[in-house]
């Protein structure tokens, strides 16, 4: 019995392991190797192994600017989703029977629509003749349209909307675990609503906010569709730059090196945030 049952767990995990290796590790390895190779329009890709692409990226401020912009957009998107998504999750959790379901659908519904459609929708709203500008002008608040398309601001707005559901889900998951009596306990000890939120509810929401932040940051940093549509060709981020290198410059090795660096940055930030979060929360939740 034992001899038979023991290899079973390993056997059962083989399909998942295969998928992991074939669809994640191998392409990653391929990209890594590609990033070390050399390219010129005359010779095409040459199978050498050197760090020339990385040296080029680090020595050219053009790339640094794009990395900085990508980071800015990702950080601000994360902040916006925190500032709006966390309270939204809290409000959703407090809603009564029919409304909670309805508004949950409204909040998470965008997930059911393709990112491209949603970004195009934002393009309509943000454009010079878009609804936002027209509304502001007809109210007499502004005289000329505000430039929102092809700006970091516009990208952050659209991307915050696209990624908001992930923050809401992450925060709601933590809120669901909270004991509602803890809030009553705070009131019974003399604390008003503000103190109770600030000192009792918010600290307990932090693990969810952290999880949401890691998710949103990683997705915002590597997002392609929204920056492509709202940011356009001029306002490049790493993901759209990689795309251009592959498709227009045909410099696959340089694109691969950029992709690897983006990957590395995202992994480092995600793991770093996770470390900080775990160190902070371990004592109360373990």
């Amino acid at each position: 019995m034992r001899a038979i049952s023991r290899p079973l767990p390993f056997l059962l995990s083989i399909p998942a392991a295969l998928i992991f290796v074939i669809f994640l590790l191998l392409p990653l390895l391929g990209t890594l190797i590609l990033s070390l190779q050399d390219f010129s329009l005359a010779t095409g890709i040459r199978p050498v192994y050197e760090l020339a692409n990385y040296v080029e990226i680090f020595s050219d401020s053009y790339f640094f600017d794009i990395f900085a912009r990508t980071a800015r957009i990702a950080v601000f998107t994360t902040l916006v989703t925190i500032v709006i998504g966390a309270p939204e999750a809290l409000i959703l959790m407090r809603m009564k029977a029919p409304w909670r379901g309805i508004f949950l659908l409204v909040a998470l519904g965008p997930l059911l629509i393709s990112v491209v459609s949603r970004s195009l929708g934002w393009a309509l709203l943000l454009g010079g003749n878009g609804m936002i500008n027209q509304a502001l002008m007809s109210m007499g608040l502004i005289e000329r349209p505000i430039q929102m398309m092809y700006t970091e601001f516009g990208v952050v707005i659209a991307m915050s909307h696209v990624l908001m559901p992930f923050m809401i889900i992450a925060v709601m998951t933590t809120l669901q675990r909270l004991n509602p009596q803890v809030e009553n306990a705070s009131h019974s000890l003399g604390a008003g609503s503000f103190t109770t939120f600030w000192r009792v509810i918010l600290p307990q929401m932090l693990p969810g906010i952290m999880t949401g932040a890691i998710l949103v940051f990683a997705m915002a940093a590597s997002a392609f569709a929204t920056p492509q549509i709202i940011g356009g060709r001029r306002l490049k981020v790493i993901a759209t730059l990689v795309y251009d290198e592959f498709l227009f410059s045909l410099n696959w090795p340089l694109g691969a090196a950029l992709a690897m660096l983006l990957f590395a940055v995202v992994i480092v930030v995600a793991i770093g945030l996770n470390r900080v979060a775990e160190g902070y929360f371990a004592r109360m939740y373990k």
Binding site: Q181, N184, H187, S188, G190, G192, M284
Partner: protein
């Protein structure tokens, strides 16, 4: 404790006066005209089966459930208008409801910080509170790393440190195992007597209510059935519900003679312990007050259980099932299947009106 200063215009002289307190959810009345007066320093238990409205009553006192009707006055001050944070009551929740992101000491300090008690005094009071509940060495622990009993004591210390006028406890011991529960009952009573805090405890455990309280409020389906001291409600239950809820009991149908001085249960006639109203009655006798002998009520032993310090004997009598509890003093009670008589002292019985029975 600060001296009691009662407002002169108090409608009721009581420290805490609850009157006509009612809660209705969608036309279903879950607490019905609850009325109770509590003296300062008193320990009162709300006792009743699950769903009888104990928690709802306590939550109305705490301010977490809005009453549909009724009044609550503490030292003459109307509490209903005040939000929970202004009531000055200490509450220990069934789930403890500790702040998971704060240490035991921080949990306890919270109420003092909210009250802006100066740092030095705060630290001192937190230390005293931790000592009071026997957790002096555990101030830096997070709740997750404490046992259920320890968490319960932190919750108690947290509620007590703000020196509440009234301490409200909602089944604080129900999550603990039997040994710890008994320990905590003794602890709770000691702490309550040390601090002199007026306390209202919700429980569905009758031994807990009897062990801890000065008075017990028995509730059923949102109504108060009886209020009284533990010995009084045990010895003189108002009706068979109360009698049964407070422990095992024997209920025999009987008749009080025309002179009001004799009682008969079938053919067994005995002197009434006190003058009684003639007519049908229910005779309640506690199992420890029944003995085996000649005469009395006739019955056959159905089951016999030895429990070390005592015997528990179940019988079928001509007036229904009966249960007898005999201390183990060496004598062996009748065996299963044996016929015997059940005897008792006339003053061991308590009479209840039959219409009070349900």
């Amino acid at each position: 404790m600060s001296p009691v200063t009662k407002a002169d215009n108090t409608p009721s002289a009581s420290f805490l006066a609850i009157d006509g307190l009612t809660k209705t959810y969608n036309k279903v009345t879950v607490v019905d005209r609850f009325a109770l007066e509590v003296e300062e320093g008193e320990f009162v238990s709300l006792l009743g089966p699950s769903g009888c409205g104990k928690t709802t009553t306590l939550q109305m006192l705490g301010g977490f459930v809005d009453p549909s009707a009724g009044s609550i006055r503490l030292e003459g001050r109307d509490l209903i208008a005040a939000p929970p944070s202004k009531r000055g009551l200490g509450m220990v929740f069934q789930s403890y409801a500790l702040f998971p992101h704060m240490t035991a000491a921080q949990n306890i300090a919270y109420g003092l910080e909210v009250r802006k008690v100066p740092r030095a005094e705060r630290d001192e009071r937190v230390r005293q509170a931790l000592d009071l509940v026997g957790l002096g060495a555990y101030g830096d622990r997070y709740p997750r790393r404490m046992s259920g009993g320890q968490q319960q004591r932190v919750a108690l210390a947290r509620a007590l440190v703000i020196r509440p006028r009234v301490l409200l406890l909602d089944e604080p011991l129900s999550n603990l195992d039997a040994n710890l529960r008994e320990e905590m009952q003794i602890e709770l009573r000691r702490i309550q007597q040390t601090t002199g805090t007026t306390t209202i405890l919700v429980t569905h455990d009758q031994t807990e209510a009897m062990a801890l309280s000065d008075r017990i409020v028995l509730m059923r389906a949102g109504r108060i059935e009886q209020i009284g001291g533990p010995e009084a409600v045990y010895a003189r239950p108002a009706n068979s519900f109360v009698a049964r809820f407070l422990g095992k009991t024997n209920l025999f149908p009987g008749t009080v003679g025309a002179d009001g001085r004799s009682i008969s249960i079938g053919s067994h006639v005995f002197a009434a312990p006190a003058a009684a109203t003639p007519g049908a009655t229910i005779v309640a006798v506690r199992p420890e007050k029944l003995g085996f002998g000649e005469g009395g009520i006739r019955g056959v032993v159905r089951n016999r259980v030895f429990q070390g310090t005592q015997w528990l004997v179940e019988l079928d009598t001509e007036h229904g099932p009966a249960i007898v509890q005999r201390q183990n003093l060496g004598a062996v009670p009748p065996a299963i299947g044996e016929a015997t008589g059940l005897v008792f002292e006339p003053d061991a019985v308590h009479l209840m009106a039959p219409e009070a029975d349900k």
